[in-house]
Symmetry: C3
Subunit: 181 residues, 3 copies
């Protein structure tokens, strides 16, 4: 359970950065940036918790929201002084994807759902925040445009994770790292 919280925390942070970068590129104002950062960060985990009928993860601990606001603020500051290349958005997305996918898979596993369902929930948890971000920014979701890289990575990674189960968590993280590049 503790590990799930750590994964959620890192996922929330990097997706907030990814959301803030995307909103900045659309030239939205401060409120728009914070809203998009928040939606991107909590979208996947919130849908996971809704589907699994669990208490929404950020209800339990306001620290998630504070982390998002801090990450969005730091991103806005950073962008003011340096122009981030598109690559940064991709890397932030890939890390968030990996964190949320594994947290989704672990929670689905605890409920003893079939393996195929575990993989689908992992994919939903990992990708839904980014999809919401792109829909709100009026783009076709990035995951569909460059699907081969992202969605395939998360499907492969989570399937591998289900195979090697609990013992293989480190190997799984490593496999994500490899695929993300």
């Amino acid at each position: 359970m503790q590990l799930v919280r750590v994964l959620d925390f890192i996922g929330v942070g990097v997706f907030a950065v990814s959301g803030a970068l995307a909103a900045g590129r659309k030239r939205l104002d401060v409120v728009g940036v914070v809203v998009i950062a928040t939606v991107t960060a909590i979208g996947g985990g919130t849908l996971r918790d809704l589907l699994m009928n669990r208490t929404i993860f950020w209800f339990i601990d306001p620290a998630y929201l504070i982390a998002i606001f801090a990450a969005a603020a730091l991103t806005m500051l950073y962008v003011r002084y340096r122009h981030p290349p598109e690559r940064q958005l991709d890397v932030a997305d890939a890390i968030g994807l990996a964190m949320f996918s594994i947290s989704g898979a672990r929670i689905a596993e605890q409920e003893r759902l079939p393996d195929l369902i575990v993989v689908v929930i992992a994919v939903i948890t990992g990708t839904f925040g980014g999809v919401l971000r792109d829909v709100l920014c009026n783009d076709i979701p990035m995951i569909l445009q460059r699907g081969r890289i992202y969605a395939s990575a998360v499907v492969a990674g989570t399937s591998l994770y289900v195979l090697v189960q609990h013992a293989g968590l480190n190997r799984d993280l490593a496999s994500y790292g490899g695929m993300a590049t």
Copy 2:
């Protein structure tokens, strides 16, 4: 209960075809086609289950997901050799709409909700998958554009269904068939 599963199954299959056709038209790659097919197929039923606080229908049985993947794969194969006219997408949509609407109506009825709510839940169950498909493809939802045909049919069909109640299921199916053309 058994009937609801059969309706959900057919609905899932034809909506997967409709989603795959729409994604193919947007020239998305294989992953994009599968994602859109899945979202279209499970969107309506998932929202219905979320609203009714039931266990999500595809959690219970992975066969739904396998059916979606199979339908999407067959659609992609078919499209490679023959060019489907727009009409196919419409017909697939209409059948899925009818299946999911009735399954939504039956479940809402079992909860002894007021008739008006039953109709609204039926409409949501029938249409939400297609709406998600169109939002993700960055179109204005088809149901709104050609609302007279689709949404009216489902409203009329479900209202009729509620009127004739359980005894009238066959008549209801017939009425959908008539309206869909």
Copy 3:
């Protein structure tokens, strides 16, 4: 509890007007106007109830839906004879925002959630209907475009509300009125 219902009722009515106006501007037909009006009106409260794991508010009482249909019909009639300036949409939005935000805040408070979460749920309840309306109409959500006015108002208003708690409800309503102009 009673107050929450009154707030929901007013919110539903004005958001239905706002949705119908937006759909009319996109030249959607009658079904499209009713669908958009309904989604705008129940979107925020439905998401609030889903997140809080409560029974969806319009399941309990079909009167909400009747109010929406009446509001949409009256709006369509009104628009046929007079051309509403953009200002009306803004005002309807601001009132709905205020009603739903306070109803969201009150419900979150009853669950003894932390103050920061209460504010976020209030913002979600107040804004989600309008966001859905804009996404379905294929626009970038209004709240993000003119975020300074709307989102800031609801954040400030709800924070104030949390500070002054139950005793301060009238002052809160007043503060919304002031900010909306």
